[in-house]
């Protein structure tokens, strides 16, 4: 490993200043080099016995970290060595966190891409026993149910947030905030049972409707919308409200025409992320909406299909032969991931394009 001598002494640290070491610096890529060397050693070690990729990775990380620390300790001194050690640890932790995500996307894309074809988008499962078939009915079902959920949750959530930020005082405000917090933690299956119990009161047991799913998902979505909208509305400077009041604008008009337009980017982002949060919910839809093989676009009439439930049934009740149904399940899962990622991109675009322009 090459050594570099920097011309100026930093002289910042007492323990560096003591020895002539303080001038000596390893190049920026020294840690990377240590890791590459460690990887080489690990591969060689493994080649001696049985090759195991997981062990190679573990050896590389451990050996690389130790090597980087030791070399740096000898050449650069304690402060720099600690810096390198912690950097190695942080990067490794990040790597560990990313592994499941990458593995998941890799697997889902790999197995789902096969059936991502026109037929999957164009046809339902009516009359399909083995090959072919699609998820048109489930895609439409998910879109309709999510749209209904949004229509229910956004007005309720926004108005609650406006109440909390602009009007709420004292005990009522505190209890609403508390209830919203509690709602945030409701398990999704409980939300589903709630909607089921509610509708069963009126329509009798065994009832399954698209709108029931929307109600169940709203229970999950409303607190998310309230929370994000509340944070965003609080960020609107009070000075803007006062500027409007000083012009003789009534409070409600100030909220509608000044506060909300100023916050619109954040509100849009929050709503989009809240949609992404509920679009993949399975449990509540399983008990409130059920599943069908045919296309039903009327959320007020009998069962509907939806992507998560579709994936669940294709996987658990694949029929014979099972491969085709399992392929369809992977594709449905891939579609859901793409939907959530798409919504996240939309959220970013919203916050980019609707943010108040400073024009500087």
């Amino acid at each position: 490993m090459s050594l570099q001598t920097s011309p100026t002494s930093t002289g910042a640290s007492a323990d560096d200043a003591t020895a002539g070491r303080s001038r000596r610096r390893l190049p920026q890529w020294a840690s990377v080099a240590a890791f590459l060397a460690a990887a080489l050693v690990a591969v060689l070690l493994e080649l001696l016995g049985e090759f195991n990729i997981a062990l190679v990775v573990i050896y590389t990380v451990v050996l690389g970290t130790v090597a980087a620390y030791v070399v740096s300790r000898v050449v650069e001194g304690r402060r720099k060595a600690t810096d390198r050690l912690v950097t190695c640890l942080v990067v490794s932790a990040f790597g560990i966190a990313v592994v499941p995500l990458v593995a998941l996307v890799w697997t889902v894309v790999g197995r789902g891409i096969e059936r991502l074809d026109g037929e999957f988008f164009g046809s339902s499962l009516v009359g399909i026993v083995g090959e072919g078939g699609g998820a048109y009915h489930a895609i439409m079902g998910t879109l309709i149910i999510t749209l209904l959920t949004t229509l229910i949750s956004v007005p309720i959530g926004l108005m609650t947030a406006i109440y909390l930020v602009e009007y709420g005082r004292g005990r009522l405000k505190r209890s609403i905030t508390f209830l919203v917090d509690v709602m945030t933690g409701i398990p999704s299956i409980v939300a589903g049972l709630f909607a089921y119990a509610l509708f069963a009161l009126f329509f009798g047991p065994g009832i399954r409707l698209g709108i029931m799913g929307a109600v169940a998902l709203s229970v999950l979505m409303i607190p998310v919308v309230v929370r994000s909208a509340e944070e965003v509305l609080k960020l609107v400077p009070n000075e803007l409200r006062e500027a409007a009041y000083a012009l003789g604008v009534p409070k409600w008009r100030t909220i509608v025409k000044v506060v909300i337009p100023t916050a619109i980017a954040g509100l849009g982002t929050g709503v989009t992320l809240a949609i992404a949060r509920v679009v993949g919910e399975t449990a509540p839809l399983l008990i409130t909406v059920g599943i069908t093989n045919g296309t039903n676009l009327d959320p007020f009439d009998s069962r509907m299909a939806s992507l998560p439930v579709y994936a669940y049934y294709q996987l658990t009740q694949p029929g014979v032969p099972p491969e085709y149904a399992i392929d369809r399940a992977w594709t449905a899962a891939l579609l859901l991931i793409m939907l959530v990622m798409g919504l996240n991109v939309v959220a970013r675009l919203i916050s980019r394009f609707f943010a108040p322009k400073t024009g500087r």
């Binding site: 500027a243 000083a246 012009l247 604008v249 100030t254």
Partner: protein
């Protein structure tokens, strides 16, 4: 049309905290009244109670009387929104609406209140107000740019244009120049001198020279100690305050022998 304001026995509270006590004063129409005093003595609080902006703060309330040309501003039938339409306000920090263009900022008083107005009339109003605020020449080619694209001094003049566009009777200004350079300050002082032909102006300032330069009347607020209410110690013509004040405290404050 400028109006006079008579304040009698005004006590101003934040919750249970009495911030300003026992103010009696008459503010003359078509003139500039300056309010001076040390920080925290209640100048802003008093100013905001004149157009009922004070009660916007949770728990804030007012006792006593404020009468504008015979109309009791805190009377049972007085509507705070209506009062604020008659008494405009310019704040210490320029606060143009960030979502609106320069044009829309000036038209905000009309637009936000959904008053119907022909496009030509509105254009005319915007031009008149911007000219009134000495900003027209600087922005006439970029009326559709965001209000926040202006410099601090221009933004403050934009806020003044916005305030005078609703044609109030009285204009309250809370340290309008404290964030500005000397040139913008001078522009706004000139502007105030022009505006006093049409409005009653009350200005809070920490700048003695400014008070001496622009105002006809000056009020000196002071407080005896932390946690004590602020009081209006002296209210007199500006020349008298700055040459031969009635109160020792006023003289100490003005000559810098204070605290």
């Amino acid at each position: 049309m400028a109006k006079r304001i008579d304040v009698s026995d005004l006590n101003i509270y934040y919750g249970n905290f009495l911030a300003v006590e026992g103010v009696n004063v008459s503010i003359e129409p078509r003139s500039i009244t300056a309010l001076i005093g040390p920080s925290g003595c209640g100048k802003s609080t008093f100013l905001r109670s004149l157009n009922r902006m004070h009660e916007v703060i949770p728990g804030a309330r007012v006792e006593g009387k404020v009468v504008m040309d015979g109309q009791d501003l805190y009377g049972a039938d007085a509507d705070p929104v209506d009062v604020r339409r008659q008494i405009g306000m310019v704040f210490q920090r320029p606060n143009p609406f960030p979502t609106m263009s320069i044009y829309d900022n000036v038209a905000a008083g009309v637009r936000l209140n959904s008053r119907k107005m022909k496009k030509a009339d509105l254009d005319d109003l915007v031009e008149r107000s911007l000219k009134g605020a000495n900003l027209w020449n600087e922005v006439k080619d970029r009326l559709d740019r965001p209000g926040s694209s202006l410099s601090g001094g221009q933004q403050q003049r934009l806020c003044i244009a916005r305030a005078i566009a609703v044609e109030p009777d009285v204009l309250l200004m809370d340290e309008p120049c404290s964030a500005l350079d000397p040139i913008s300050t001078l522009a706004i002082e000139d502007l105030m001198t022009e505006l006093k032909e049409r409005f009653t102006i009350v200005i809070v300032t920490h700048n003695m020279q400014q008070a001496a330069r622009v105002s006809e009347q000056t009020g000196f607020f002071n407080l005896n100690g932390v946690g004590q209410p602020g009081r209006l110690i002296e209210f007199n013509p500006t020349e008298k305050i700055f040459s031969n004040p009635d109160q020792k405290a006023t003289e100490d404050y003005i000559s810098g022998r204070f605290g």
